[in-house]
Symmetry: C2
Subunit: 324 residues, 2 copies
Amino acid sequence: MSKAPGEFELIARLTARLRRRPGTILGPGDDCAILKPARGRELITIDSLVEGVHFRLDWGSAEALGARTLTVNLSDIAAMGGRPAACVVNLAIRPGLDARFFDRLYAGLGRAAAAAGVDIVGGNVTRAAALSITIALVGAAQGGVMLRGAARPGDHLYVTGTLGDAALGWRILDGKITARGAARRFLIDRFLNPVARVAAGMRLARIRPAPAAIDLSDGLWQDLGHLLERSGVGAEIDAAAIPLSAAYRAVAGDDRTLAIGGGEDYELLFALRAAKSSAELSRRLGVAVSRIGRIVRGRGARLIGADEAGTPALAGWDQLKERE
Amino acid sequence: MSKAPGEFELIARLTARLRRRPGTILGPGDDCAILKPARGRELITIDSLVEGVHFRLDWGSAEALGARTLTVNLSDIAAMGGRPAACVVNLAIRPGLDARFFDRLYAGLGRAAAAAGVDIVGGNVTRAAALSITIALVGAAQGGVMLRGAARPGDHLYVTGTLGDAALGWRILDGKITARGAARRFLIDRFLNPVARVAAGMRLARIRPAPAAIDLSDGLWQDLGHLLERSGVGAEIDAAAIPLSAAYRAVAGDDRTLAIGGGEDYELLFALRAAKSSAELSRRLGVAVSRIGRIVRGRGARLIGADEAGTPALAGWDQLKERE
């Protein structure tokens, strides 16, 4: 095993193969990075992945971990309809990880950043008991901004993609659920290599009036709850309409518990004033879209047509609660 | 002991008593915060304090810890001459800390932010094995920007304040050095309650040509090394000119080791093309300034007039190295 890298070596590695956007005036190496002011309103978010809480190193590659940390942040920008621009990375490192590990972590992070048009403009490295990666990401909202609080009674509710795959994949990795073959690989991949719906979010934000939206990081039920609370409305969800992948069905059958309560999907949930067909929206956004219910007066969400097996854990999925 | 708070309760606490700048369009509660574009160039930095690495909870108050985490970031903005504007906070929490602790942490952080004109616009909370607080801070540079790479041979080198106090305070708290009375209190306070030189940095950045500057987080010798390396120059430092507090002298006598190699002071080191007296600069910047040497051709720093006791640890002070 090669020697563990020091702080400055790590920062140098992190920033070695950087691509520069025109908006980046000064990248890493000084006390701060310097950016041109955002065109339009600026969006900012922060998120973190912690070893033993959000990932285990033996579950996937270092490259995937680096990419996933950025995806978690990209998804927040996607949920507002913004274009991601630049990020700063705080890396807390523990003993036992060698330079090769960090090279691979940064390679994955760097590729994900390049693919998303994001510059890594700065970083900080500190020691810690467990590995964690914290990214703060800025972006710009040039047209409309999608807010959690914009849903109104009568709006139609949609989600992108399929739900519950990542939660199933996590449980497969954790040994709590057994699966084999292609379904196993698909579900684990959905957990380890989630995709942020950035392009779909930007296209969604062009619709008028601007949709209400949130990304599904904590699970449909919990994130829907945030959207409803901020909007001061309720919702009715058609359990049968919640989109499930073939792999999900192969492993969990009709049990929608994880599709409703499981997190880490990074799909978008959004509410539109005027009904559009799922097919039209899928074409427009470039990703599968399913209509799952509607916004109603009142408070809270009601699940319509759920049999016993499909009754959700109402608190949704929360890593803080799950493991305490 | 009261119950440990959940994630959403914590975020609500963090954001309960927020002051809003005109530049903040949307604060916490959505996927991202929304800011007006920076006026001038935007600065961005990230830094983190980790329990057991940068602090111990029995060393100081939760309020001071919250404030210090922001100060560490403010100091990076100060070193560029910028005006801090808004921050996002990632909090990694461990079991055993109650709601009252987080109330106090956030009270300290909130007061420090208000005093610095900074809005706390977003946050994230995660579980972890140790408490850590990571802040990403954005600001604006309206006039000149001070860079590490701007020093030229012939420039005069200055520092604000006194050096080594925080490093001594840390060692007193850690039981490695003994001190009593007012000196002990002063040195510990310099470690627990550092001040970022934000106003001084903004005034410095108005000087033409713009000074080279860096903040002293890792210690004079190490941070000077960064400035020299980025500028492609060397330096001669007059050991006797390094400013020491009366408390430092009372505890360490003439031993300048920690004033040269010890970190956590958050003073500014800067290089000016035209010599100005320390008295004139002190008046202009509103903080004590000492001239400690000059920039020369070549590489590396040379300490002039150091006796044996004052010979610095050349690598400076690095928390990664110190404890490994």
